[in-house]
Amino acid sequence: MSPWILATEEAEQAVEAGITGGFWADTAGIMLVLPLVAFILILAFGKRLKNQGAELAIGALAINTLWATVLFIQNMTEGVLATYSFEIGRIGSDLVFELGWVVDGLSIMMYFLVSLVGLIVFIYAVGYMHGDVRVPWFFAAFSLFAGSMLILVGAPNLIQLIIGWEGVGLASYLLIGFYWEDMENVVAGNKAFMVNKVADVGLILGAIILGLAVGTFDFFEINTAAAEHLETLSTVAVIGGVLLFFGAMGKSAQFPLHIWLPDAMAGPTPVSALMHAATMVTAGIYLMARMFPLFQNLAEGTRPWMVAIGAVTLFALGLLALVTDDIKRVLAYSTVSQLGYMMTAVAAGGYTAGLFHLFTHAFFKALLFLGAGSVIHAVHSNNMSDMGGLRKTMPTTYWTFVVGSLSLAGVFPLAGFWSKDEILATLGSEGYTAVMWIAVAGAFVTAFYMTRAVALTFHGEYKGHGHPHESPRVMTGPLVALAIPAAIFGLLNIPGVDLPGIGNFTRWLAVRVVPMGDHHAEAIDFVIAGSGLLAALLGIALGWRIWGKDRETQVERDSLEIPVLYPLLRRKYYLDDLALGVVGATTGPIARLVNWINDYVIDGIVNGVGFLVKGLGSFVYGILDQRGIDGIVHGLSAAADGSGSAVRKWQTGRVQQYAASFVGGVLILIIVFVFVT
């Protein structure tokens, strides 16, 4: 029997056993609504409030964090599993649209992540955005961002997922183009929106195909159907699944649809932090995990392609972080690379591995972005060539940034080490050995560019202007708050180790889905873990050797050129040029063709119709109206006029004439009566 069906039965047993969550799960829908309420309230009253709406946004997410934390702990200790759906409409009699919320391991993990990271970033943003333009609008859009993501991860069906998905896209567009006075930022926002839109077409088509084929949009029924009726559904499942994967590629910035993400750095830094950690880019991975049984059932031919896309993303795009001077872009390429890890893992069958990396990555990447924001706040530049030597002046930022970097690089025993090792182990056990070694090489690259970033930013000599100083408490507090989970959360899922009383991360996620083929390692594979760690340490050592020493020559060494490779990387593999070229080359001729059709075909039709109508009109006016109808009217009046002028002559006004005609009439009557009758 299919393992997925086994899982469904286990889930039913769980419902019978009563682990449905109780009050906190029953009211979890509040979490989906609160940020949206905050969004509306801030728009309406934000300007009049003391903190310009920040208190509303933070309040909403604080309540959410409370809810999510309680649910998270409940799920740790006893497990929570429930779905709440409310019908809002239907097509025909079968196809039902429902809204609601899901409370299971996966959703609770995402609620927790979005709420907690969101809360910390919001608090940080109070300091970062202080005195900036349009602060109420910023917090309103920020609330919309978080709220849309919660709607997305709470969705029990594809329809609600798409609603949240588009909401996230909209909010990201608004926030990336937040400083819309600069044309560049508007263009970046447009680019993000349009690339996402291209991918969204895949998502929507996939949802329609799967929904119509299965007869419902409900995730769990689609998953069950995918598992149970594999033979009859296989074609539909492959098409729908590939289309959904396309949507996930866009949102999660997989090669070659990643081109929007680095440009998305145009927004304020807290936006980047939230976008890269908890909301937006994780949506694609979440979708892959939510529909994991479907993707596991895709024909064997498509799965290696997904893994390959993830592998290309994680390695090739990681390299790009080596040549950018903008610290936020370094982190952006790092995110793309890490998303490649997650995608590779989920596609290869590592449900827990991918999600665990998503979980830890959210904390250390948010930490790194907030750290970068703190530095940018101090030196007023995004470029690392304007930084350097900030270790002394900004100690809190420095130490938290180092923790985040080491965690990202995968250094034992920080969080990134455990989650990356999990992915490597999954790839190894699933038989993707080559991809596993690419991932190990990716770990080396990761460590290499993060060392470069740390060295250029915090070591050497200060190269910028003015006197940078440590950021205020409201910004360093969140850094410390994120550094702790970035350091220790790896311990939640040490292979083969159950934490006393609460098990481990794998078990928390597995309440509903014990996914088919989730090969969670039961013990540490020291060879794989060792090679991953070794790659990371080598990367750090090499990076430190190049950029860390000798402060005078640091800059020259950074401008070092490796022929062929570096120009290629600086042009981002020509992908942006390719995308623009394809768009430019296709839209130009199409536009001209459409213009020609417009000028000659459509205008011809329009003019012909106009000519006909005009001819008809002059006929009606000249013949029918002027001659016909007017002729009748004029004829009648002329007849009345003529007869009137003829008859009135009789009216002479001479009394005796009237009397004479009167007498004459009487005589005629007498003659008639006497002689005729």
Binding site: R648, Q651, T652, G653, R654, V655, Q656, A659, A660, V663
Partner: protein, 101 residues
């Protein structure tokens, strides 16, 4: 009793009235001629009543009606004549062809 002599008288009076109506130019004389014609009718009515002797004296009643109507008619007619004469200093019907086209 014969009615012929009364009928001849009445016919003569009536013809006189018609003649006066058509020929006279003075408006008072025209009104007078109308009175002649009415009285000719009255004579006929009385004569036929005297011959038939109907039980409820229809002829005499009609004659009284005609006299009444004639009195009213002359009253209105003379009032009009008076107003015309005051305005136009003339009682000639040829000067009174105002009500025409």
């Amino acid at each position: 009793m014969l009615v012929n002599q009364f009928l001849i008288l009445a016919a003569g009076l009536f013809a006189l009235g018609v003649y006066g109506l058509l020929v006279r130019r003075n408006i008072v004389l025209i009104l007078l001629s109308v009175e002649l014609m009415l009285n000719a009718v009255n004579i006929n009515l009385i004569a036929f009543e005297a011959m038939i002797r109907s039980s409820d004296a229809v002829g005499q009643v009609f004659a009284i009606f005609v006299i009444t109507v004639a009195a009213a008619e002359v009253g209105i007619g003379l009032a009009i004549v008076l107003m015309i004469f005051r305005n136009r200093k003339s009682a000639n019907v040829d000067d009174m062809s105002l009500m025409r086209w």
